[in-house]
Symmetry: C2
């Protein structure tokens, strides 16, 4: 069972993997080249469903069987979960230290049965279904009163922490509100208290007016380089409509979100020569996602530089590409040559995209 331990000074929680503890010889050499990653050994490829734990949900062709092929999106528990879904928290103190059982959820959203097809180049309708899968898992896990926050994220490339090449996202639900989520929420609240307006709504207005950090826009979303971006080419996708929770997205907005996410990732891919990246969805904690105090969004972090002793000791990042320069580079990307070929989607994909998952 993993543990959650709290730093008595900063209050930060850390997940400690007590089983399968890595000893000195167990760490990979980060300087090696990427290891071979073949579809026949890939647990996320169609036909290899038995290599994962039983599926939690899937978008499947009519008549196909659970844990067999015929799916176009499949969600499974992480085989090596950071947190365990069974058990009580058993909150305990040990002297100055706070402890609880590492209860939570850790799931993998397999984004396509095709091993070599990366998210930016999937059909927009497929990207939209990935987002519906995110939402379905969020809404299901939100019912569990032990879980306080749900982070949905994607690691792409070994340098960004991805250990498998097959396109996938992940979800981790924690029994605590993470320190960084709490800080962002508190900051939004502080701004709201002072100005009686939403900080992100103000940012949206200013970015639309100034335009120099804008990358792309559509009817429901804008993509821009944040004024105080920590990472070169960090990109924020912000909904125009103020809303605390990404799960409250409408069907029309979801279509626009998929289009904007695909657009931003294609620009980053083409501009930065297939750079590794992470993205994550910033959304309110489960029990506050109907409050009006937050404005959900998605952040993409290309991994072009290394956080070192200065960043680790201060939390101050050095961004070597001014956001205005990054925005200009991303705007200038020629998307024409790279537009994904519209794939024929399996029957039923869009009939009822917000329907409950089949689990």
């Amino acid at each position: 069972m993993p543990e959650l331990r709290r730093d008595p000074v900063t209050g930060e929680w850390v997940i400690v993997a007590s089983e399968r503890a890595k000893r000195p010889g167990d760490f990979a050499d980060h300087s090696r080249a990427d290891q071979p990653d073949e579809p026949e050994n890939c647990p996320f490829c169609a036909g290899n469903e038995s290599m994962t734990p039983p599926e939690i949900m899937a978008f499947r062709q009519p008549g196909s069987q659970r844990n067999g092929p015929g799916w176009w999106i499949r969600v499974v528990p992480n085989k090596y979960p950071a947190l365990a879904i069974e058990g009580d928290l058993n909150k305990t103190g040990f002297g100055v230290y706070d402890w609880m059982n590492g209860v939570g959820a850790h799931e993998v959203i397999v984004e396509t049965p095709e091993h070599g097809k990366q998210l930016p180049f999937l059909d927009t309708r497929q990207i939209e279904d990935i987002l519906w899968a995110y939402r379905a898992r969020y809404l299901d896990l939100k019912k569990d009163p032990r879980l306080k926050h749900i982070l949905i994220f994607r690691n792409y490339g070994r340098v960004a922490g991805a250990s498998l090449g097959h396109p996938h996202s992940q979800l981790v639900a924690t029994p605590v509100v993470p320190v960084q989520v709490a800080a962002e929420l508190a900051g939004a609240q502080r701004y709201q208290d002072y100005h009686d307006r939403c900080a992100y709504c103000d940012i949206l207005r200013q970015e639309m007016n100034e335009g120099q950090r804008l990358v792309s826009e559509n009817e429901h979303f804008i993509a821009f380089e944040p004024y105080a971006a920590k990472y070169p080419f960090e990109t924020l996708i912000l909904p125009r409509r103020h809303c605390p929770s990404f799960a409250a997205i409408s069907a029309e907005e979801q279509t626009a979100f998929a289009a904007m996410l695909g657009d931003a990732l294609r620009r980053i891919h083409l501009c930065l020569d297939d750079a590794p990246y992470n993205y994550n969805i910033h959304t309110a904690p489960c029990d506050r996602d109907d409050k009006d105090e937050f404005h959900w969004h998605l952040r993409v972090f290309p991994r072009l530089t290394i956080a070192a002793g200065f960043e680790m000791g201060t939390g101050v990042y050095i961004n070597v590409t001014p956001p205005e320069v990054a925005a200009e580079c991303l705007r200038e990307v020629d998307l024409g040559a790279s537009l994904p070929v519209p794939a024929e989607l399996p029957v039923g994909s869009q009939d009822d995209p917000s329907a409950s998952p089949d689990s």
Copy 2:
């Protein structure tokens, strides 16, 4: 001139390098092997002093000339500084955004004239002089009222952000108190308010009593694995005496600090097969380093794992080596075979280690 920009929600400051902006083609490929790093091209090797900006201070042999050989520790401005030492802050607002000039200091402490000799294997008296150089630079920069905090840190290995192989540390003085320093200080104050005791003094007592996370100890310091360590083999060196500022260290304590730092780094080096690491010194902000609210220390972060989308979105780290396991591994290291050969130190090295630098 670099800029400091503030995130309007979280309040975090970011340094934006406005000159020499890196464009998409300028980023190194992190997956490549280490580049050749030869003494003849190394700006930090003895004889190559002209390859750095003029030295700020040095510990030198009597009669040797500034910016020539004859030094055993040399401090120079960083040739590519994150912050610039000249100029006014010119604090300005642009709509919702806060801005100031990137004023500060960024210095390199060259730890030895010998290219291939790494810090853990330097003579303890040489390590002590490195620490005296840290202190001398801290005390000098502290006089500048524009500077609010001074971080001293070391990056070792390319994965840990080091771009040059020659042994060196760095120092960055910022005109703001970094968010992470503020959070640690606030946490210490909160603990003090609640318990009327110092959190770190309590931690020290508990770690000494329990012993399971202890790595090493001497008369003035302990080295241990923090209970809620974020990184595998993260190691904290804590002075036994409660003191907010590392600059208030006594000569006797400095000797013990050098011994403890060398001991901890040798254990990490031998246990983890020369792993890359960062360390940084956590000390109170300049204008509060005589207040009683903090307890300075040094943290070493081996870089064995990659922070990915989950850590970046939550601030919650997953530590795959329980601190108790890491401590046991580090305690068991056989230091006997690796003890550094006592070097003959240049005359005058220890005569007055706390004397002012020669600048």
